[in-house]
Structures are given as C-alpha cells and as structure tokens.
Amino acid sequence: MGKKRKQSETQAAEPAKKDEPAPERPKRTLLGWKNKEEVEKQTESNPDSSSQVFRNKEKVMVTCSRRINYRYRHLMLNMVSLLPHCKKDNKVESGSSKGATLNELIELRGCSSCLFFECRKHQDLYLWMSKCPSGPSVKFLVNAVHTMEELKLTGNHLKGSRPLLTFSSNFEKDAHWKLLKEMIIQIFGIPKEHRKSKPYHDHVFVFSIVDDHIWFRNYQISVPHNESDKMVRGGLDKMTLVEVGPRFCLNPIKIFAGSFGGPTLYENPFYVSPNQIRALEKKQKAGKYAKKVKAKTRRKMHELSNPLEPDEFADMWRE
C-alpha cells in the first residue's frame, strides 16, 4: 500500500516540474500511443525547455556469435574502443533462439540498443543493429572489412572523443535509408557529456551510400597547430584527414519491426546471400565438365550425321 502511495505522490509531485518533457516520451520510447498533434503543440510551446531536458541515455551492447574468426572479432573490438557508451558482452550462440537470448541479455545489461556480430561458416559476417525493447532491428551483410590494426591506416585519435557523423545526402532518398540513418545516429553517436567521453572532437565518421551499400570510414582530423592551443590562421584550409579505421561496408538485408525478429518491414531486392554466390561458382566449375561432355557428344552426333566420303585413293599404295 505504501508503495502505491509513494508512486502516486511522485506522480503528483512531478507533473508540476515535468509537464513539458512528459509528452515527448511517447515519441521516443514508443509505448503505443502517438498523439502527434499534441506532441507538436507541446514542443512548439516551449522548445528550449524540452531540449534542456533531453538527455541521450543510449547504451549499446556489443557482442558477437560464437566461432567468430579473428578478423571480425578484431573489428568488433575496434567498435568497442570507438564507442565509450557500449557494453561488451560474452559471445552468444547463434542459433534460431538467439533473438530471445539477446533481448534478454540486453535487458539485463540495461542497454537500449545492440550491435551483434554474427559470423557464419567462419567467413560471412552479419551485423545486427537493433533498438532494444521494441525494435526495429536491421540485419546487414558486412563486406570489405579492414580493422584498425592494419598498418596502412596511419591515423590515431583520442579514445572516447565524440565523432562527427557525416551522412551522404542520399540517406534522405528512401524511407528505409532514413530509418537506418536515425538508428546509426543513435547507436554510433556518443551521448553528450557521457562520463567516458572527452570534450573534444578529433575524428569523423563517414556513412555513405554507394551502390546501395553503407560504407563506413573513420578519419582523424589533423590541423596544423601553433605553440598555443589556438589554430593557425587559415588552418581550416590546411585541415587534413588521416584515416584511422576500421573500414567496412554494410549491405542491408532486412529490416524487422521488432528487436531481433518481428514482421519484416524491408527486404533488399538485390541481395544474394554469399551461400548462393558460392553455390553458383561451384556450379559454374561443375559446368566445365558438363560442357566438355556435351561437346564430345555433339561432335559424335555430327560425325554420324555427315559421314566421310570413301577415299578413292585410299588403297593406291597398298598393292
């Protein structure tokens, strides 16, 4: 009974303070009711107070499937080092029931989103991005992986400094790209004033859609400095970027409404799974032999159909 009273008390006390931020919530957390008109009205009435109250409490759980190979594991670790607001968890068996276990794990760790690196057959890497409790979730195929450890990526930056997120303009083209952009901003953007973050900005993330894939790059910003911390005049023109890594390319496969499941909202019409590609290759190789056999039979048929004329000089020298 006491409990209930307390709750009611707090509820009674808070409305006075949190009158304005309260209507925001339905928009963010998706609890079912979406009275947009109301929300808009509220936000219009006092926009500055809402922005004051807004706090990004994003936490990302990063984990991977079992039997991941080292390259992809390193990629995952690189992501962990890039995102100070993430929590790394143990490997998860990637079976049919992984969705449920993952959801449970995320809830246990108190995270609001998840990056799940799923490795299949020791060679194909799938990346799941999911907003936790109520979706959506995206499954990507990851290509062209280069980890930060590669020596040709020569940049370096502060650990935990907030990155600038740059998106190519074609993210606004389609609904699914828009959704992906929003998810990326939430997952890869480090919350302002996160306790592990640093107050400077010395690297840029690039998300660019080329050929219906999302390409990821991470660059260090380097500007010639004077002795003091002030930048040189015209330093903006001399600004250069050095790549830090990692690099990868995300090929979206499917977007689900829920977290690790639910109805499919989007399906990539051009997607061919790597298994199918390999099968195709094999088939082509097998086709080589079939072709030879076919050619042989065709030749035989041809010889049968037009036989050689008997040579009149054949037994000329035979006596």
Binding site: L158, S169, E182, R217, V244, T264, L265, F270
Partner: protein
C-alpha cells in the same frame, strides 16, 4: 519467405546459364577480375526480386517511434548531411575513397564553423594528453612501416637512375663510334678526291715524280694484309702468341692466355714439325743471352779471392823459406865464426861477388843465394800462372822491391859481418904478427 521466393528465380537463371555457359563464364570472370578483393562477395541480382517486401508505412512509423524529438540540439546528434556531387563508381577504389574523404572534410569544415559560432572547443589542444584509440606501440609500428616504405621508394629511384645513366652512356659511346667511322670515311674520300684532282691537273699517278705512293687509295691498307698472320712464322700454331703466353701474363686474362699457351704447346692448327728450326726471328732473338752484370760480378769476386788465396799461400811459403834461410845464414855465420875460418874466407869471397853485381840479381850464382833464387823463381812461376789481374802484377813488383830491400839488409849485414871479421882478423894478424 523472401529468400524462398528468390530461390526459384535464381535457379531459373542457372538453367538459362547452362545453355550458354561459355558466354556466362567469360562474363563472370571479367567481373571478378574487375572487382577488387574486398568486393569479391559483393554480387547483386541483375533485377530486383519482384516480391521483396517494402513496407514504407511501417518503416516511417518505426522511424517516428525511435527518433529523438525534432528540436533536439545539434550538439546531441553531431550529424551532418553532405551532398554527393555525382554518382560514385564503386569499383574505382580511388574515386570512391576520394568521395568519402571529401565528404568527411566538408563535414568537418561545417562542424568547425558551427563550433566556432557556439564558442565551444573543437580540436583537442596539443597539451591535452589522454588515452588514444591506438596504442603507442602500434603507432611505432606504423611509423616503422612508413619509414621502410620511404626507404624502399628511394632505393628504387636510385636503381632506376643508375640504369638510365648506363643506358645513356651506352648511347653516347655508340654515337662516338659512329662519328669516328664517319670521319674516317670522310678523310679517305677527301684524299681520293685530291688524288683524282691531281691526276687530272697533270701529275700521273704511277709516275716517278709522284713522290709518295699512298697505299690507301684503294682503301686496302685499312684491311688486313694478304698474309694471314703477319709477323708469325708459318709453323707457329699459336700465331706468335706462344712466347708471350708462356713468358708472362698469368696475372690477368688467365683463362684465355692459358688456353692460347696450351694451343701453342700441344697444337691447334698449323704445321706440326719444324718447331726447332731457326728462323730469322730466333737468330735475332737475344733474349736468351744474358748481358746482366750481376752473375759476372759474382764470378769475378770469386776469382779475386782465389788469386788472393794463392798469393797469400805463396807469400807464406816465401816467408817461411826466407826465415829458414836467414836462420841458416845466421847460424852458419855464428857457427862459422868460431869454427872454421877458411870456410869463412871462402864465404866472404863469394859474398862479395853479389855485392858487385846487385843489378843482375837473377844471374846470381852462389851457395847462399841459390835457395833464394829458387824461391823467387818459384814466385815468378806462380805469378805467371795467375796472370789474369793487373793488381797481381802490381803486387809482384812490390814483392820485387821488398826482395831488393831484403837483399840490401842482407848485404849490409854481410858487410857488417865482413867488417867485423876483417877487424877480428886484423887484430888476430896483428897479434900473430906481434906475437
């Protein structure tokens, strides 16, 4: 569901492919070649699958659900939209990366301006040290790699330069040779022309007054003469190289020389006999004759020492003889004086005689000097025996002088003895007379 629907289309494609596998194979291969390694797996369907799900409303709804309030401060998002000017070709690595780079750069510029306007810190100050994404050890590795790369490039550059220089040098050399040949030809031409002109103007070519008959008119002097091996005897298989090869030249070109020498020795072409016959060359060849002084000197010094040795021996003999004779004479006299006066008389007579003819010593006849004479004769003989050196003659003369001195001494001694004897005799006579 989507996948299962995709499968049949793929299979259908496969069956189509089976009919013209060849074309497809080549196409596939070319595609794979053009792709870089990273996009190997990146194969797309040619046509979009017809029944792929696209729930636009659902997507938008979800977007609404998850998105932050619209009026959220930019500082929370830090997101920037950058226009891509043109479509980027995925397979062109350079263009693609450049597009990403420019996107990032533009984004940073915009962000920088925003930060400046808000008065917020942007880049980290140089004295702000904190943990970096990559460890120092790793950055050291990166640095090492960069340095190694730089060095490699420099080395390659150096090698390339050296190669080019060599090539140029070769060309220059060829040019020079060509130039020289050209000049030579030109000169010959000029002389010919001059000669022709001369002939035309009245000087006959073969006439006696044409003072010099230049042999290179026909250009033959620049070729080898008709004789195959000039200056080499016909039987010499080595072509005159045998002596050179045998005599010297092991130091350089060893193998070649060696071969030549062996050819000359064991035969390779040419006549086989007649090797030991004299020819003009061999007779004129004075290489075998050694005009060197060193050997003679040695021999000469040996001879001198020989002579000296002989001389010493003879001298010794003489001295011994002389000593013997003196002693004998003294003894004789000592003995004579007390014992036999008549003999002493006789002796005195004989001794006076040589005093009278000292000049003709060799003609001495006397008991006392006979021995000496024999000795001198012997000496003379010895001198005659080794009459090779002048100095020996000189010593002979000295010896003669010495002998003369000796004679003088002896004479004096004898005179003295004679005088004493006379005195003693006179005394005795006087005593005897008085007595």
């Amino acid at each position: 569901m989507g996948r299962s629907s995709k499968q049949p289309t793929l299979l259908a494609e496969d069956t189509v492919e089976d009919d013209d596998v060849m074309d497809d194979l080549s196409e596939e291969e070319s595609e794979f070649e053009s792709d870089s390694v990273e996009e190997e797996e990146d194969v797309k369907l040619a046509e979009p699958a017809k029944n792929a799900i696209y729930n636009r409303d659902g997507l938008l709804e979800k977007l609404q659900d998850i998105s932050w309030p619209e009026n959220v401060d930019w500082m929370h998002k830090l997101s920037l939209d950058i226009d891509q000017e043109k479509e980027v070709d995925v397979n062109d690595d350079l263009a693609r990366e450049l597009a990403f780079y420019t996107q990032a750069l533009e984004g940073t510029r915009v962000a920088f301006e925003k930060f400046q306007s808000m008065g917020l810190p942007f880049l980290r100050p140089p004295d702000y040290y904190a943990e970096m994404v990559k460890s120092d050890a790793h950055m050291q590795k990166v640095k090492g790699k960069l340095l190694a790369q730089k060095r490699q490039i420099e080395e390659a550059e150096e090698r390339r330069k050296a190669r080019e220089a060599k090539k140029i040098a070769k060309e220059v050399q060829a040019e020079k040779l060509k130039e020289r040949a050209k000049q030579k030809k030109h000169e010959i031409e000029a002389v010919k022309k001059w000669r022709k002109q001369r002939q035309q103007s009245g000087f006959p070519a073969g006439g006696k007054d044409s003072e010099l008959d230049l042999g290179f008119e026909d250009g033959k002097s620049f070729e080898r003469s008709g004789k195959k091996r000039p200056g080499v005897s016909p039987w010499d298989r080595s072509g005159g190289k045998a002596k050179q090869a045998g005599g010297k030249g092991k130091s350089f070109n060893k193998g070649k020389k060696n071969r030549e020498f062996r050819n000359s020795k064991f035969g390779f072409g040419g006549k086989k006999g007649l090797k030991k016959q004299n020819t003009a060359d061999t007779t004129n060849d004075v290489r075998g004759f050694n005009g060197n002084v060193a050997g003679n000197k040695k021999r000469k010094s040996q001879a001198v020492s020989n002579n000296l040795y002989v001389f010493c021996i003879f001298n010794l003999i003489i001295v011994v003889v002389l000593m013997g004779s003196k002693n004998g004479s003294e003894m004789d006299q000592d003995y004579e004086i007390p014992v036999s006066t008549p003999s002493a008389f006789h002796k005195q007579e004989t001794e006076v005689k040589p005093l009278q003819n000292t000049s003709e010593q060799e003609m001495n006849v006397g008991r006392v000097t006979s021995v000496h004479e024999i000795a001198t004769e012997e000496n003379k003989k010895g001198d005659e025996n080794d009459c090779s050196g002048d100095n020996i003659v000189a010593t002979d003369e000295e010896e003669e002088e010495e002998e003369e001195d000796d004679d003088e001494l002896r004479r004096r001694v004898e005179e003295f003895i004679a005088k004493v004897n006379r005195d003693w005799r006179a005394e005795k006579l006087g005593i005897s007379v008085s007595a």
